[in-house]
């Protein structure tokens, strides 16, 4: 799938109380690409995600999938929310099967794919557990399995690990990176965690807040066989500090 955002703006509210949330956002994601949006709160990054998912409509500009404007949500763009998105009345396996049932797939196929994707996220043994019996990291892996099972061409990740402990977050990042390499999916990651974005994405856009706009775009080296090693490599740390300065200056300009 080829995703394009062409000079997208978003205004919430009407008249005097209206608020410009996004201004002139343009970027694209080619098939198989991993792109990250980084910004502090107020940068409208979640709104970008919702526009791409089709849960919101742009006020100006266009969101295009393979050249056609997005008219609503669809299973070609699977979404993983920050938290609380598993159906608490369904088991892990039933959650994974849920999207495929909505799509009207056959029962044998659903059973087979459910087992497969639970295996992929390493939760084959927890198939019959309910969400409240799973840890936060396990819940997010079920949510990712559910999104993948519906066969999206673009995976939308809205701060997927934001609610997790640091240690679990790091292992989830490794997991996500390997998953992306294995499946060749296109992915859009929204995060306020610079390191996370730099580890996972091939291209990174930094958003400035109020109104949200892209102020800097960085292409990242594609060679990263070992994330743990990459985290502490000098070039990585240097670039991280550089980008962190950019982010700080954006927040500082706001405070002044």
């Amino acid at each position: 799938m080829h995703l394009q955002l062409d000079r997208v703006s978003k205004v919430f509210g009407e008249g005097r109380s209206s608020k410009l949330v996004l201004e002139d956002i343009s970027f694209e994601i080619l098939p198989g690409e991993f792109v990250a949006l980084v910004g502090s709160s107020g940068s409208g990054k979640s709104t970008v995600m919702r526009l791409v998912a089709g849960l919101e409509r742009p006020s100006a500009g266009a969101v295009l999938v393979d050249g056609r404007p997005v008219r609503g949500a669809g299973s070609d763009r699977g979404m993983v929310f920050q938290k609380y998105s598993l159906y608490p009345w369904l088991t892990a396996a039933e959650n994974v099967a849920f999207g495929m049932q909505l799509q009207g797939r056959g029962r044998p196929e659903i059973r087979e794919r459910t087992a497969y994707f639970l295996e992929v996220v390493g939760l084959a043994g927890s198939a019959s557990l309910y969400p409240r019996q799973l840890s936060g990291g396990m819940q997010q892996r079920v949510a990712i399995a559910r999104a993948l099972a519906a066969e999206p061409q673009l995976l939308l990740l809205d701060e997927p690990f934001g609610a997790l402990d640091l240690q679990i977050r790091e292992s989830m990042q490794e997991f996500l990176y390997q998953l992306w390499q294995r499946t060749g999916l296109a992915a859009l990651l929204i995060t306020h965690d610079l390191e996370e974005a730099m580890l996972l994405a091939q291209r990174l856009h930094i958003l400035a807040p109020r109104p949200g706009r892209i102020v800097r775009t960085i292409s990242l080296a594609s060679e990263r066989s070992d994330l743990a090693h990459l985290r502490v490599s000098p070039q990585f740390l240097e670039l991280r500090e550089d980008l962190a300065r950019t982010l700080r200056s954006l927040d500082g300009a706001l405070g002044a």
Binding site: L55, A73, G78, F81, W89, F98, Q101, L102, Q103, R146
Partner: protein, 260 residues
């Protein structure tokens, strides 16, 4: 007291129900003592034994059972009707902004009209049979049921709905497969709470016009100054209400293990 029986006694005392039972027992004991002391006229405060005797007599005559049957079936019919209408109506109002804006002010207005005030009108329309009583319970609980179900729908986390949409779900699938299962615990709870007003209303309706029923028995007892029968009626009404409440709680715990 042996060493082994002590923890068991302690455990019994620590059971969540033990305080509640103690409270009820305390009232019964005070009641017994006061009525035995003779400080209050027996006409105003019959002894527990007298109430028990009245109960035995009514049970033997079959009156107690026919009264219970009459009242319970009125509540059952009226409330079932109300529950059946409120569920789709509440879901529609919670899920659709146009329907909500159209109906919410109307319902909010009618909700503040006391249901017993409808009795004269219902009697004029439908006479003195079962229908006006069933309809009174229907009217008296429909709006509360509907508004509580509507609220439950509005509080369904948006992530759950939006996840279904991004998985390729249509609006009707979201309604049936996300919103409905999600609100079931609150629906059961709403029914449990509003059942209490259904139970109030049936007694009111029977006080006004009925040939049998627990409320009717109480108003007859008043005419003959039979306070023991009034007490009996009140206690039976309370016990049945408690039983209904507990069954709803049990139903909730059995069907919605994920929510309790």
């Amino acid at each position: 007291m042996s060493a082994r029986s002590q923890p068991r006694l302690l455990r019994a005392l620590l059971h969540p129900w033990s305080l509640g039972v103690a409270g009820v027992l305390a009232v019964v004991i005070v009641w017994t003592l006061v009525s035995a002391s003779g400080t209050v006229d027996k006409l105003f405060l019959p002894s527990p034994a007298a109430v028990w005797a009245a109960g035995q007599q009514q049970a033997a005559e079959g009156l107690l059972w026919s009264d219970i049957r009459a009242s319970v079936s009125r509540v059952g019919a009226g409330f079932a009707l109300s529950a059946l209408v409120a569920l789709p109506l509440g879901i529609a109002m919670g899920a659709n902004r146009v329907i909500c804006r159209l109906l919410e002010p109307l319902l909010a207005l009618i909700r503040y009209m006391p249901a017993p005030a409808f009795i004269p009108l219902l009697i004029i329309y439908f006479g003195l049979g079962e229908l006006p009583k069933v309809l009174l319970i229907f009217i008296g609980t429909l709006f509360f049921n509907t508004l509580m179900i509507m609220d439950a729908v509005k509080f369904v986390p948006s992530e759950l709905v939006e996840t279904a949409l991004t998985l390729g779900g249509r609006r009707d699938q979201v309604l049936v497969r996300v919103i409905t299962p999600c609100i079931i615990p609150q629906v059961i709870d709403a029914y449990r709470i509003n059942m209490a007003s259904a139970w109030n209303l049936v007694i009111v309706a029977e006080l006004v016009a009925a040939s049998e029923g627990l409320g009717k028995r109480i108003s007859l007892a008043q005419r003959f100054l039979r306070t023991d029968e009034i007490f009996l009626g009140l206690i039976v009404i309370g016990l049945i209400g408690l039983l209904i409440d507990l069954s709803f709680r049990l139903l909730l715990r059995r069907t919605c293990t994920w929510a309790v």
